[in-house]
């Protein structure tokens, strides 16, 4: 387990070095996107159109933040991760089209995303669910917002972050997936628990 301090834009070579269980602190630009933003982005990308922000080498954050406006500029009040599995069906297309290098969320992602990460060179990092103030404090500046018509949680918030973390690498670009590993162990433990409680298998 190693600790890395990364700055965006992140190169493919930097990403390929990361392994599951490594800890990352990220500085630079992070853009939030949830289900609706993913869907809209893919529609644009598939038509060959550009996104309102170029995500190449940046990080996308599965997050629906609480923002407030102070003297005409936005301030992040709370910005923890949301459940990533909701984006599982679209994340591969999103990575392919946007060339994003880091996906940040909670709860992990599945085989489809893992495969895209191997192919295009990206990692999935888990940020502690609910640790919203810690995340908000790492946000130094809200650089902009797009697609606010989707509502505050669903909009694309473009954030300048400093030492955002600890992020645990949970899917690396070699196809290892910490969440799927844990799931396998849990399945084995299920049988142990059943036996302990005296259930018929």
């Amino acid at each position: 387990m190693a600790t890395y301090r990364l700055k965006t834009p992140i190169s493919e070579a930097q990403i390929r070095k990361l392994e599951v269980n490594d800890v990352v602190y990220l500085s630079g630009t992070v853009v939030t996107a949830r289900d609706q933003a993913h869907r809209r982005a893919i529609e644009l990308l598939q038509k060959g159109k550009a996104l309102p922000v170029n995500l190449e080498g940046l990080a996308v954050f599965h997050c629906g933040p609480v923002m407030k406006k102070e003297n005409d500029s936005w301030v992040a009040v709370a910005a923890g991760p949301t459940t990533s599995t909701r984006m599982e069906m679209v994340e591969d297309e999103f990575i392919k089209g946007s060339k994003v290098r880091v996906v940040i969320g909670k709860g992990g992602m599945g085989k489809r995303t893992s495969a895209a990460m191997v192919k295009y060179g990206a990692v999935y990092c888990a940020f502690t669910g609910g640790a919203a103030v810690l995340a908000a404090k790492a946000i130094k500046h809200v650089k902009g917002v797009e697609w606010l018509d989707l509502g505050m949680p669903e909009a694309l918030w473009i954030l300048e972050v400093d030492e955002f973390g600890p992020l645990v690498v949970a899917i690396d670009s070699c196809g290892r997936n910490l969440f799927l590993d844990v799931a396998k162990k849990v399945e084995a433990n299920r049988q142990r628990i059943y036996r302990k409680l005296g259930f018929q298998p």
């Binding site: 709370a78 923890g80 888990a126 609910g130 645990v168 849990v186 628990i193």
Partner: protein, 296 residues
């Protein structure tokens, strides 16, 4: 009664704010203990981050989690408390005010048009549960319930012949199926009996019990311990990254059932187990029950 009206609104506002910013002491103590005992490295990192986040939330008076939840109020109403007819309106006003002033994330969405009401109020929300008791005071409890943990709730209409084994299996399976989604370590509320709706209500209400309060029925306390141990054998761990802390506590509550039905409900609360209570006396004085030392 205009006066009690505004007291109820003020107290409800304070409770909402206390709940979303400060975790109750029992939950904090339990998280600290889990951090000390966790052996998985990734799991320990998660618990450390949770504790750091709690300290920051307190320092900045900011909501612990960006999902400030939907609000459920439990009202224990003395029949002689003046102004009972205005309580629901006061709770709605307090929720609206808190949304803008704390601020909270607007989390009330019309299920058919997808329109967000913008202020956490609307048809059926905030939810209010009433219990009428004798006396002239009003006890208010608020539960700020996150969506991630709500989404993994389970109701099983078991065959009564499945008995306790069936119940335990349902809970263990629910914990495993939920995995990382409810932000473990979680707290489980288990409602047994009643009907389908009663089992779910009991399960959710059980989440209001402090973690350090053992069940007064010895047999049920034993069942709670057994479920807790089993849940922590899963290895799901903090945030599903593996480890021995998956569940912090289990609270079981029950009601008599129909001979042919055996409803069992499991409701999860995430580690951000946000609740706050206060009692309003007839003379207008207020006792804060869960957050005694907190600024308001």
């Amino acid at each position: 009664m205009k006066q009690t009206d505004s007291i109820v609104e003020n107290v409800a506002f304070n409770l909402v704010k206390q709940a979303v910013v400060y975790l109750p002491d029992d939950v904090k103590a339990s998280l600290r203990k889990a951090y000390a005992e966790e052996t998985s490295e990734a799991g320990k990192t998660q618990l450390k981050t949770i504790l750091d986040n709690l300290a920051l939330a307190e320092k900045h008076e900011a909501p612990i989690c960006q999902d400030t939840g939907t609000f459920v109020f439990y009202v224990k109403a003395g029949a002689d408390f003046e102004g009972l007819d205005c309580v629901e309106e006061a709770l709605t006003n307090a929720t609206r005010k808190a949304t803008f002033e704390v601020p909270l994330r607007p989390n009330a969405v019309h299920p058919f048009t997808q329109k967000n009401s913008g202020d956490n109020t609307g048809k059926g929300i905030p939810q209010v549960h009433w219990e009428l008791v004798s006396g002239d005071s009003l006890e208010l409890t608020v539960l700020a319930k996150g969506g991630g943990s709500e989404n993994v709730s389970v109701l099983g209409m078991l065959n009564p012949s499945e008995g306790l084994q069936g119940l335990k299996r349902l809970v263990v399976d629910a914990v495993i199926k939920a995995g990382a989604q409810p932000c473990p370590p979680t707290i489980l509320g288990v409602g047994v009996g009643g009907g389908a709706d009663a089992a779910l209500s009991l399960a959710k209400k059980a989440l209001l019990k402090p973690l350090d309060e053992a069940n007064e029925e010895a047999e049920i306390a034993g069942l709670e311990r057994e479920i807790l141990e089993a849940a922590n054998m899963t290895g799901i761990g903090p945030m599903g990254l593996g480890g021995k802390t998956t569940v912090l506590g289990v609270h079981v509550d029950w009601a008599f059932r129909h001979p042919a039905s055996f409803p069992v409900a499991v409701v999860f609360n995430c580690w951000a187990a946000r609740r706050a209570s206060a009692k309003i006396n007839a003379d207008g004085s207020v006792e804060y029950l869960t957050h005694k030392k907190r600024p308001r």
